[in-house]
């Protein structure tokens, strides 16, 4: 790796700003703590991106700038890493998330039908969010719940042996008019 510290840096904020983001957004503090714990080492980039994704919900440009400066990394490298990995998102996602597993076991047991039902009934396609910003639909390569395939994850809760009906029911619970 080349000595990148000697490269021209982007001075959007003065270097001393590391303790307090000018916006006053407290979530940057979480990033500072993570970076500090890793001694601002460049190899902590993925760790820090995880934290950022957790704290902000997605990786906005401002956050990527902040991390690049903190770890003294080229901007393009931070962007390259952030877009390489599936779990990092550069766009905001919905309030709730539904993950349909598309691992082989789920696939042979009908995960495709779950997706088809969601598209048919909700007009929701993989990688999309409902227009009201309530529900995001994503797919996973395999969540390791093959024994109870087909599986889906609703806001982090894994549910096995899903049917199109059960998935739709779970999602409708999140929608505002569901209570009535």
């Amino acid at each position: 790796m080349s000595p990148l510290s000697s490269t021209p840096t982007i001075d959007r904020q003065p270097p001393s700003a590391i303790n307090e983001h000018p916006s006053g957004d407290k979530r940057f503090k979480v990033l500072d703590i993570t970076m500090k714990r890793n001694q601002y080492r460049s190899d902590a980039l993925i760790e820090v991106l995880h934290k950022a994704q957790e704290a902000f919900g997605y990786l906005e440009e401002d956050v990527l700038y902040y991390i690049a400066r903190g770890l003294k990394l080229p901007l393009s490298r931070v962007y390259g890493v952030a877009t390489f990995y599936h779990l990092f998102s550069l766009k905001p996602s919905g309030a709730h998330s539904c993950v349909v597993c598309l691992g082989t076991a789920c696939y042979v047991k009908g995960a495709g039908e779950l997706l088809a039902a969601l598209e048919r009934e909700m007009g929701l396609k993989e990688g999309e969010t409902t227009p009201d910003g309530q529900v995001s639909l994503v797919t996973a390569r395999c969540i390791g719940a093959c024994g109870i395939a087909p599986a889906a994850v609703f806001d982090g809760r894994v549910a096995g042996k899903q049917t199109p009906e059960s998935v739709l029911a779970a999602i409708k619970e999140w929608l505002p008019d569901a209570a009535s």
Binding site: S2, P8, S76, Y79
Partner: protein, 238 residues
């Protein structure tokens, strides 16, 4: 210094240990096709055009990153290699939007030369016509993503010779894309020193000088050679 003797296409060669097969072949007057290799920057073994057959190994190995070993018996032009090289070039053509007739690098393009060298006049694979864009926000240079083959030579010269690391690769798989800065317009990237090394490094018409017209693109690779020699050997020979 120790010497290794080996055989390439039946020609005996003696080279310093640690030499790559690619360099050894060059010394023996044998050209192995390459696209991602660029003298003076690190090798990544990505374009797979320099694959060679080595007796006793059932794997094809990239000549650019494989070091010579004593007694190696290497073939660089077997029918299998020729066929695979041709398919590789066909894949490259079908994956981007390469229209030579309107390209600044027409006649001075390594991809075009490669197609001629491997005897590729058409691709058997359907063209994918990807939707790619053009960035001419930089005052001097531009990048036409349609012509990019992801050799990453621009990224390596910028990182390893200039030291600015303006370029990198974003996304993955078929969606990969060369980016500048935080995927910003090139002209807005403050790290860019406008040194132009990426322009010299680009094998196709993807990165170009603004104002140049079709078939006008002449690269001056000696600039890079000069810099590499200067940096590595402390010899300023220009």
């Amino acid at each position: 210094m120790s010497v290794r003797t080996l055989r390439i296409n039946g020609i005996d060669v003696a080279v310093e240990s640690g030499t790559s097969i690619l360099a050894a072949a060059k010394q023996a007057g044998i050209t192995i096709p390459t696209l991602c290799h660029l003298d003076g920057v690190s090798d990544v073994g990505a374009c797979r055009l320099c694959l060679v057959e080595i007796q006793g190994s059932n794997k094809l190995l990239p000549a650019c990153v494989t070091e010579v070993a004593e007694g190696m018996d290497i073939q660089t032009e077997t029918p299998k290699l020729q066929e695979y090289r041709r398919m590789t070039v066909e894949l490259l053509f079908s994956e981007g939007n390469h229209v030579c007739a309107v390209c600044v690098a027409n006649g001075n393009c390594e991809l075009q030369d490669m197609a001629i060298a491997v005897g590729m006049d058409h691709t058997r694979f359907p063209y994918r016509f990807p939707d790619r864009d053009l960035d001419v926000s930089h005052p001097q240079f531009g990048i036409d993503h349609n012509r990019c083959i992801f050799c990453t030579r621009c990224m390596r010269v910028c990182d390893e010779i200039e030291g600015a690391h303006v370029w990198d690769v974003a996304q993955r798989g078929a969606a990969v894309r060369m980016i500048t800065g935080l995927n910003q317009p090139w002209g807005e990237v403050e790290a860019c020193t406008s040194c132009g090394k990426c322009v010299e490094a680009c094998p196709t018409g993807a990165i170009f000088r603004q104002g140049s017209t079709v078939a006008e693109m002449q690269r001056d690779r000696s600039t890079l050679e000069f810099l590499v020699t200067a940096r590595e050997k402390k010899e300023w020979t220009r």
